[in-house]
């Protein structure tokens, strides 16, 4: 697993400044190597992170991809009309990448890391660090799996 705490702290500091206005949309692209975890839990963690950034509960998910292909794409609908898109991939032979776009109604924030710092974050995250409640985390994981199975949007 990846430890997103340092990024989360920095982003929250910026959001709380008010310069971006209210966060309304997020796009996350996360690629890690297979040494650092499994696809579905990683995706779940990424979505938990996005929910915290957008500050609204998740309403529904639409999931595409497969464990076999090593990549998942998720469209996350949140309450308050907010939405997010996440692409999570595990690649054995590829350098890790983390790209975040956070759109507020007064501006945007971007973070990109495909260098040594991300490697350190990956190493630091050997334990799962997900801040949402166990119940919502379980519900999200089930919804992701159900959407993968049915191909439909699944309400949470």
């Amino acid at each position: 697993m990846i430890d997103l705490t340092p990024l989360k702290t920095a982003v929250f500091q910026e959001v709380s400044s008010g310069r971006l206005g209210e966060p309304v949309f997020a796009r996350l692209i996360l690629v890690i190597s297979s040494d650092h975890g499994h696809l579905l839990p990683l995706c779940q963690q990424a979505l938990g992170f996005i929910q915290e950034l957008l500050q609204f509960p998740a309403e529904a998910v639409l999931t595409r991809g497969s464990q076999e292909s090593g990549s998942l794409t998720v469209q996350l609908d949140l309450e308050g009309g907010r939405s997010a898109l996440a692409v999570v991939a595990i690649r054995r032979e590829e350098e890790p990448q983390l790209d975040l776009l956070l759109v507020g109604n007064h501006g945007t924030l971007r973070y990109r890391n495909d260098g040594p710092l991300l490697e350190a974050e990956l190493d630091a995250g050997s334990e799962i660090k997900v801040t949402e409640s166990t119940a919502s985390a379980t519900g999200l994981r089930q919804a992701l799996q159900e959407s993968l199975r049915s191909g439909e949007r699944v309400r949470l």
């Binding site: 206005g21 209210e22 309304v24 949309f25 796009r27 692209i29 690629v31 529904a60 639409l62 595409r64 991809g65 292909s69 090593g70 990549s71 794409t73 469209q75 609908d77 308050g80 009309g81 907010r82 939405s83 997010a84 898109l85 692409v87 991939a89 690649r91 032979e93 590829e94 990448q97 790209d99 776009l101 759109v103 109604n105 007064h106 501006g107 945007t108 191909g151 439909e152 949007r153």
Partner: protein
């Protein structure tokens, strides 16, 4: 004498402000005149005449007579969405090659008629796209190189940095309608329609597959003008392609100061062996200095979103300098179309592609209205 005479349809406050000069810059082309249908609203007529005057070409008041001219070989159609495909079909029927603004129109029936008429008349067609841009070409080269392995996903972001943001009421959550109620407005645009067309076109061009299913959510995050016209300023989509590829896109207009250049334009390519982000703003110079930074002035009363070059200039223009792109594309989209005519080959963004993209866009509105995945097969 130049090889191709070009007839312009539509004038100021359309993308003809860009395409007309692009054709004029091509040494193979000569602008013959500017025309439109008889009986257009007086404001439209005035804007048509003002562009003709600025380009130094005659305004031709009778469309049918203009289309009968033998010195016209290409028609460049930039009229409003609602009459675009119909007018383009009339040009094709008259035996003219047709270059058309994007999206190809608002009626799928009319777009399909354009496709059949153009095929029957054996004329070439092309819809404007971003495919000629340097970054799109880089993405294409990357896909074709095989470096990423099998292509599994394409994810586009087309977020234009225009308009004075922060005026939308975020408490009013958008409820989409299907079919969409109207496409042309003075102070707003349907941003899924006008930005999604680029991303959907690029995805199909990169992967060679067709969209089978679409899920969309439309929103009002930024502008009061869009809310007043009951059109979206932002959209997020997920697309399933017939070859198994997954696509997603974000599209919208998100404010002048949301980006150091004209907006975030990028594509993320996910392959079986690698993932790459290709960004229109790379490579670039980044400039930091003590010169005053640009702030948007009072918006143009008839074009607060800065849709058009003429009104944007009238309002003082956009003068950002923090980032500067390095490198340029090989030529204009218009010149690429002339290349296709010269070589007697189909464009990679012809009317058939345009109609297919329109079908996906309309399905996206249906999805946004229903909250469900919509199948196109």
């Amino acid at each position: 004498m130049k090889k191709y005479g070009v007839l312009l349809l539509g004038g100021d406050r359309t993308h003809q402000e860009n395409y007309g000069p692009d054709f004029a810059d091509d040494p193979r082309c000569q602008l013959i005149g500017l025309t439109d249908e008889v009986g257009v609203p007086s404001q439209r007529d005035a804007w048509n005449r003002s562009l003709a005057q600025r380009l130094g070409i005659p305004f031709l008041p009778q469309l049918d007579q203009a289309l009968e001219r033998e010195d016209v070989h290409i028609a460049c159609v930039c009229v409003e969405f609602e009459r675009r495909a119909q007018l383009a079909a009339r040009c094709a029927e008259a035996g003219k090659h047709v270059y058309v603004d994007k999206p190809i129109g608002s009626s799928l029936e009319a777009a399909e008629k354009l496709v059949s008429v153009a095929a029957k008349a054996q004329v070439k067609t092309q819809m404007f796209s971003m495919l000629r841009s340097a970054w799109a070409q880089r993405a294409k080269e990357l896909v074709d190189s095989g470096l990423l392995g099998d292509l599994l996903g394409i994810h586009c972001d087309t977020l234009f940095a225009k308009g004075l943001t922060g005026t939308a009421d975020l408490g009013r959550i958008r409820e989409e309608h299907f079919p969409p109620k109207g496409f042309s407005f003075m102070k707003s645009k349907r941003e899924l329609f006008t930005t999604g067309v680029y991303s959907i076109g690029m995805m199909g061009w990169l992967c060679g597959q067709s969209v089978e299913r679409v899920y969309a959510r439309t929103s009002n995050f930024f502008f009061q003008e869009h809310q007043e016209d009951d059109v979206e300023d932002f959209a997020a989509l997920t697309l399933d392609f017939d070859g198994g590829l997954v696509g997603s896109l974000s599209g919208g207009r998100i404010g002048f100061l949301s980006h150091p250049l004209g907006g975030l334009l990028r594509v993320t390519l996910v392959g079986s062996r690698g993932t790459r982000i290709v960004d229109s703003a790379e490579p670039r110079l980044e400039i930091s200095c003590d010169a005053p930074t640009w702030r948007p002035g009072k918006p143009h009363p008839q074009d607060p979103m800065a849709f058009w070059g003429s009104s944007t200039r009238e309002a003082g223009g956009v003068h950002k300098f923090g980032w500067r792109g390095v490198g340029s594309s090989g030529g204009s989209d218009a010149s690429f179309f002339v290349d296709c005519i010269d070589a007697d080959r189909e464009s990679d963004m012809n009317a058939t592609d345009g109609a297919e993209i329109l079908r996906v866009l309309l399905a996206a509105y249906e999805s946004a209205a229903s909250g469900k995945v919509v199948s196109l097969v």
